[in-house]
Amino acid sequence: MSWANAVDKGILLGGFYALLACGLSLMFGVMRIINLAHGDLAVLGAFLVWTVVDHTDVSPFLAMVPVLGLMYGVGYGLQRGLLERSLRAGVLVPLLTTFGLAIVIQNLLLEIFSPDVRSLGGRAGAVTTASWRITGDLAISELGVLILAVAIVVLGGLHLFLAHVPAGRAMRATAQDVDTAELVGIDSRAVYARAAGIAVAVAALAGAFLAIRASFDPSSGPTQLIFAFEAVVIGGFGSLWGTLVGGMVLGVSQTIGAEIDPQYSVLAGHLVFLSVLAVRGRGILGAREAIA
């Protein structure tokens, strides 16, 4: 494998990380909640897609559709039932709440699905293994391109939603000043719940792609959370497009690390993350606005 190959793999991997991270970024940007259960919610999404595929034998890509709707509801309900209450008690309580939620989700998944490692790669058809050969030893994975395209569509869609749709505008206003948002007629609790719904649905989408491109088990969540965190911090907290840049920087660091020695893959990502944090604490595209 050549260096060019490592870079192109890294960029595509970055698309996956961006997808994983953008829900985390949205929840922090809108309601200042750091969702420590984000990775586990993604894995929960993966298990739900796996369950649908197992019972109906449809393609995982089709099975995602009802799961995304369901997970939007899960996010909405979590915010209304749990996080909204903990937000009233200050900024630290939601952090503890989501930490507890992460443990609950992991253990429920373990109880229901056993610790077996699973993958949906075999059920997703030829796209998981197919690639376009550019030159002799440079190949681009079709699945990687698909995931990157989905990430761009999701980020672009979120951007357009926030910039031009009334509900998105209300979300930005609420993110900037929640008390004043209420004073102009915005139901801030509903806005928060919608943001949580979108964040959890997108996390589930990322989880489904995790299941297709690799493997997962009930304890996969925390690792995914760390990657999502690193992507968000490298790109700049609260900046949606920064999340894509951060994901790509993380992805390329990992694949180049792996090129040096397969053991260095994750370590290289961590090192780049720590260097960005040390040199430029607010990330590459550090946001002036809460969500842009």
Partner: protein, 240 residues
């Protein structure tokens, strides 16, 4: 006809009782100037009426129905709009977005972005500018416009002229005068007694959370209001 009726309202900030047993009524089309020294409870009173601050006791009756338990956004939709102290625009939204975001849940009524810009011509060239980049007067105009976008039946304006250049104050008051002529119902908090008394039908003076003087603006003298303002005995005989 009574639009707003406040009955025995108490409001607290922790142990501090900012509003004590306040009762008054606002009639349709009336303009009331709420005056009083710093810390008299004017801002807390307005915020409690708007639903941004929870009352400790008493009732807020708007348009015949008790809104005391309603949250701020529900009161906005019922027709109460507050221009908060310090303007509180959404800093990263443009002027136009600040207006649109408030208009999204508006009841039926005359106000639209173009109407607001007509009423505040200084906003026309600023529509695409970020609110954070505006001057104080421009921000106040946007904040009043934003409140109007909800088509309120009752407009509460906190600290109309605080922190504004005299020219900007003139511009804001010209626009307010147009509003008042059109029959709007307004309660405004004003530090500048002369200005407040000039535009208002009625003046309510607060001291240490209580109403110490209330009366028609043209029947009260500046001296009476000043005395009540500082809590001198002679001002208290008029009562609420």
């Amino acid at each position: 006809m009574t639009v707003l009726s406040i009955e025995g309202l108490d409001a607290r900030h922790g142990l501090l009782q900012a509003v004590r047993d306040v009762s008054f009524e606002v009639a349709e089309g009336e303009t009331i100037a709420l005056v009083g020294a710093n810390g008299a409870g004017k801002t807390t009173l307005l915020r409690t009426i708007a639903g941004a601050h929870g009352p400790a006791a008493g009732r807020v009756v708007f348009d015949g129905s008790d809104v005391t338990r309603l949250r701020a956004y529900q009161r906005v939709r019922a027709g109460i709009a507050l221009v908060p102290e310090g303007r509180r625009l959404f800093p990263e939204l443009t002027v136009e977005e600040n207006l649109l975001v408030a208009g999204a849940h508006a009841g039926p009524g005359p106000w639209s972005v173009s109407r607001v810009v007509e009423a505040f011509p200084l906003l026309e060239p600023l529509r695409k500018r970020r609110a954070a980049s505006l001057s104080g007067g421009e921000q106040q105009a946007t904040a009043i416009g934003r409140a109007l976008m909800t088509n309120p039946r009752l407009l509460l304006v906190d600290e109309v002229s605080l922190g504004l250049a005299p020219v900007a104050v003139d511009a804001v008051y010209r626009s307010l005068a147009t509003l008042i002529e059109s029959g709007a119902t307004i309660v405004l908090v004003e530090q500048d007694l002369a200005r407040g008394m000039a535009v208002a039908d009625r003046v309510i003076c607060m001291l240490e959370g209580r109403i110490v003087l209330a009366g028609a603006a043209d029947e009260l003298t500046r001296e009476e209001v000043t005395a009540a303002y500082f809590g001198l005995r002679s001002g208290q005989e008029a009562g609420a």
